[in-house]
Amino acid sequence: MLSLTSLGGANPGGVGDGDFDMQCGGACHGDASQNQTSPALLELSLEGDAYLGLPVSITASVSGIQFSSSDAIGLFLLTDVTGHSDLPEDGGWEVISDVNGGDNNYVELEGSSFEEVYTISWIVKPTVLESSTFYLSIHHGGQNTPYFAISSGLDIDVLPVPDNLPRLSSEYSPIISRDLGQQTTISVSTSDVDQLAIEWRLVDQPSSSVNATLIDNNSWEFELPPALQPSIIEWRAVMDGDGPTQTTPWFRIAAQEPALAVNQLQIYLQSFAFCVFFLTLVLTLQSRYWNDQEDLAEELDQTSLLPHQEDSVGSTPPLPEGGLPNGWTMEQWKWYGHEYLEDEK
């Protein structure tokens, strides 16, 4: 078993997307002290301005990756490099969506090309009016060695929202997942918007336009076509109003297999049924063979066939017609009377 494991400290299977600090609690790379510096080139950039409460896209560009045998890399979006309390949430930012259709600061990507430039983005929303510095960190393996690198910082100033700026409402948070085959109606809440146009596209495909319907004041709805297989659709809103026209970042919706929908009671009941079934199976077999062993022992026990000592020795022989012979006591007759009777015959 030991010979099957790699000698490095990396975890080639990754740990799955999630909200992780820079060292991911040791989950990705067993021991941070074993990390080698990754040759990857990392760069972060901000798409547009960051306004308080409005989503904005942060794009990460990664190239020159030495992929491990599993061809996977892990990328972190961080607001600190101390290794703790460095999630965007800790810096006053909310992650709305990531490249894989989740809302995590840590994502895992698959690839294999050293030459290729991988570009991914996170949609984030500032929740406090403060400046922040973002970092991109990478974890990956290669030649049984865990590699680690961190980008230079990207300073972002969060601006107050200008008057009359056509925008999404600050409480609005788009849905990021849906089930396969589901026609999706998306609601959009806006402020200072007179007209709303929607563009959607499959990842890296040309975009299409759909009309958004005004439901009531500042509330709009539009529909996205159902997905027939797991995939990601991107959409964005173009907002017109009194202020300058604004375009939101590309929001992502991942279409996935519906979650397992079974009655939990059914599963628990079947679990206990399995438990009792196997318990009973073993007990019954043991009981059966134990009883067989006892029957066999009884069959082998032939002591009952032996003449009983009491029959031959212990019982008193019948007295002769004249009664107890002269000179005999009853005690002597009991033990030796049968010999006397034999001699008389």
Binding site: L4, Y268, L281, W290, Q293
Partner: protein, 192 residues
């Protein structure tokens, strides 16, 4: 306070360690029951250590199951793999309970019968195997890889029976278990 995920790690390590230890002991006992190796000392040690380890693992099992459910992404059995984990761990629990009860009722005389000793060691080995498969499925769920990957086990497929079928098996099983327990209890009180 610690999170349920951390608590799950602690309890699963206890369970897996104990069941693995028990598995080794029952393997030795199984080999001895087939007459391939004989040592009274090894038999005595394997018997005591195996059953003790199995009992300890069994005590930790409910904590591992409940903390596992609690630490799953939706705090319930929302994935086929988690459902399979539940089934496997409960099968192992049933086998381990039977092994411990049999040993308690029959005592050392259990090993005097070849059939009984073979059933006992096979059930102990199976309990360990099912529990290790449960742990393997956990590794597949959390890390995406497992030591049993080479077996290509169908973790994404679940064998789900209708509720009424489970109910019937449960009731019939409980009834049969009571009869078997009574038989074992009766037999164990007879002095030879």
């Amino acid at each position: 306070m610690i999170s349920s995920a951390t608590f799950h790690v602690i309890t699963t390590e206890l369970v897996v360690g104990s069941f693995a230890m028990a598995g080794i002991c029952f393997l030795v006992l199984a080999i001895q029951s087939f007459g391939l190796f004989e040592s009274e000392k090894a038999s005595l040690i394997s018997d005591n250590a195996g059953h003790f380890a199995l009992g300890f693992g069994l005590l930790a099992t409910p904590f591992a199951i409940f903390s596992g459910i609690s630490s799953s992404p939706t705090s319930d059995l929302s994935s086929p793999l988690l459902v399979n984990k539940m089934f496997l761990s409960m099968i192992a629990t049933g086998l381990a309970l039977a092994v411990l009860f049999t040993r308690y009722k029959m005592g050392n005389k259990l090993w005097n019968s070849k059939s009984n000793s073979r059933i006992q060691s096979a059930a102990g080995l199976a309990a360990s195997g099912f529990m290790l498969m449960t742990a393997s499925a956990g590794g597949k769920f959390s890390r995406g890889e497992s030591v049993l990957d080479f077996l290509n086990l169908p973790y994404d497929t679940i064998f789900l029976m209708p509720t009424w079928a489970s109910g019937i098996i449960l009731l019939a099983g409980v009834g049969s278990a009571i009869i078997a327990v009574m038989n074992l209890s009766k037999s164990s009180t007879i002095e030879h």
